[in-house]
């Protein structure tokens, strides 16, 4: 194996550990005990007391419902933000290669996804077909 290839492999493997594996274990560490406890696991007296204390604090309004907010953020807000950025990134990278074919093709794919008239394969085939047809059109490519 050549050195440059080895360096690239090490860099990408470390990247995967940093951006994909580590966050998953960090989330696991910071979860509340209630989520980590399996239903058939016996609960200790200290855990019951801790939960009662949290419930009392929540009921009295002294503790904000941070858990719900975090869950709402991770399950609703963040995924939508990621998919918005995905869509914009794909559109941006394809438009920078071939503006008009990409705009027309991605608009068609987006409309097909929204209308639910075509499933993934037909929509992708249609969109890709439009893209390559327009890309080979001298009027659009100049």
């Amino acid at each position: 194996m050549n050195d440059s290839a080895t360096q690239a492999i090490i860099a990408l493997f470390l990247t995967s550990l940093i951006v994909r594996v580590l966050p998953v274990f960090l989330v696991h560490l910071f979860r509340t005990p209630a989520k980590l406890t399996k239903p058939d696991t016996p609960i200790t007296t200290a855990q019951i007391a801790a939960r009662q204390n949290v419930i009392q604090q929540k009921l009295s309004g002294s503790l904000p419902l941070a858990g719900n907010r975090v869950r709402n953020y991770l399950t609703e807000i963040l995924p939508v933000a990621v998919f918005i950025n995905f869509s914009v990134y794909i559109a941006w990278s394809e438009i920078s290669k071939a503006p008009w074919p990409a705009v027309i093709s991605l608009t068609a794919i987006g409309l097909m996804a929204l209308s639910e008239r075509l499933s993934l394969i037909p929509a992708t085939l249609a969109g890709t077909g439009i893209y390559f047809l327009l890309r080979n059109n001298p009027m659009l490519t100049g």
Binding site: L12, V19, N85, R135
Partner: protein, 287 residues
């Protein structure tokens, strides 16, 4: 004709296989023991999930083949391509680092660049952490196999086994295609690799379709939730109209913020700031 097949939708696990909490879990555990669950999964969900993932896997094959061909042209061996595809497993990162290795760039620079390009996975890994298997090795493996396409196919309702299956199929397809690309490289005419051909477009098309679909499903569920909330708190404006228009404004604002971030920071470094700003903006508007 409304042809809504399961292929176009993110993959949900049937209620019988979903994770549940509280007394439902006890009931579930009492009804189905572990071996029975596994048999049921292999009999029913395995082939169905595989068939649902295959179109997406098919779309990433040309991209991975292209990587194998380009790596072969840069004198990479089959073993090196296999290792970078399996240990690295990141389309954009692999393509970005390939030319840099030829110019003798150092490990730290390669690492910084790769982390910057793939920083979006930080957010995706956090979001999808709850649907991973519990065992540490399986969890780490599933986390490593996380890809854009897999994330776009999964939902919060996807079980740990199905998540692992989706990711494994895409992961294996990616590695095999890259290796096949190395073997095919001597037989592929150079004009096929020209910039004008853009063999990566089908993968972009698939990811765009899945992203729009996910946005639609998620925003629709948020419309319903906010509508239900509005019904409890009477207002002068018709609730459904108000929440729908607010969500549409937030979506357009999110797209604009993301576009501005790409313009200012570039398409390689915009991910984390853009995701952070869009999510904070949505959070503030939701609060």
């Amino acid at each position: 004709m409304k042809n809504q097949t399961a292929v176009s939708q993110p993959i949900n696990t049937p209620i019988s296989e979903q994770k549940s909490t509280g007394h439902q879990d006890k009931k579930y555990i009492a009804i189905a023991s572990q071996p029975v669950q596994k048999t049921l999964f292999w009999k029913t969900r395995f082939w169905k999930t595989s068939l649902q993932v295959l179109p997406t896997a098919g779309a990433i094959i040309p991209v991975s083949l292209l990587f194998g061909v380009l790596a072969s042209q840069a004198d990479w061996s089959v073993t090196e391509v296999f290792l970078i595809s399996s240990l690295g497993f990141t389309g954009s990162g692999q393509f970005a680092l390939l030319p840099l290795t030829e110019s003798g760039t150092g490990l730290l620079t390669l690492l910084l660049l790769a982390v910057s390009i793939n920083s979006r996975y930080l957010a995706i890994a956090l979001v999808s952490a709850s649907r991973l298997p519990g065992a540490p090795v399986k969890k780490a493996l599933a986390a490593h196999m996380l890809g854009d396409e897999a994330y776009a196919l999964e939902t919060e309702q996807t079980s740990a086994t199905t998540t692992l299956l989706i990711r494994s199929i895409l992961f294996i397809c990616w590695i095999l295609s890259a290796v096949i690309g190395v073997w095919l490289a001597p037989y592929i005419p150079s004009e096929w690799l020209a910039e004008e051909i853009n063999p990566g477009y089908p993968a972009s098309a698939v990811l765009f379709f899945l992203s729009v679909n996910q946005l639609k499903v998620r925003l629709q569920s948020q419309f319903k939730m906010s509508d239900a909330h509005d019904e409890r708190t009477p207002r002068k404006v018709k609730p459904s109209e108000q929440s729908s228009s607010c969500n549409l404004i937030r979506l357009i604002a999110g797209i604009l913020i993301s576009g501005v971030c790409i313009l200012v920071l570039g398409s390689e470094y915009f991910w984390l700031p853009a995701i952070a700003i869009v999510s904070v903006f949505r959070l503030r508007r939701t609060a």
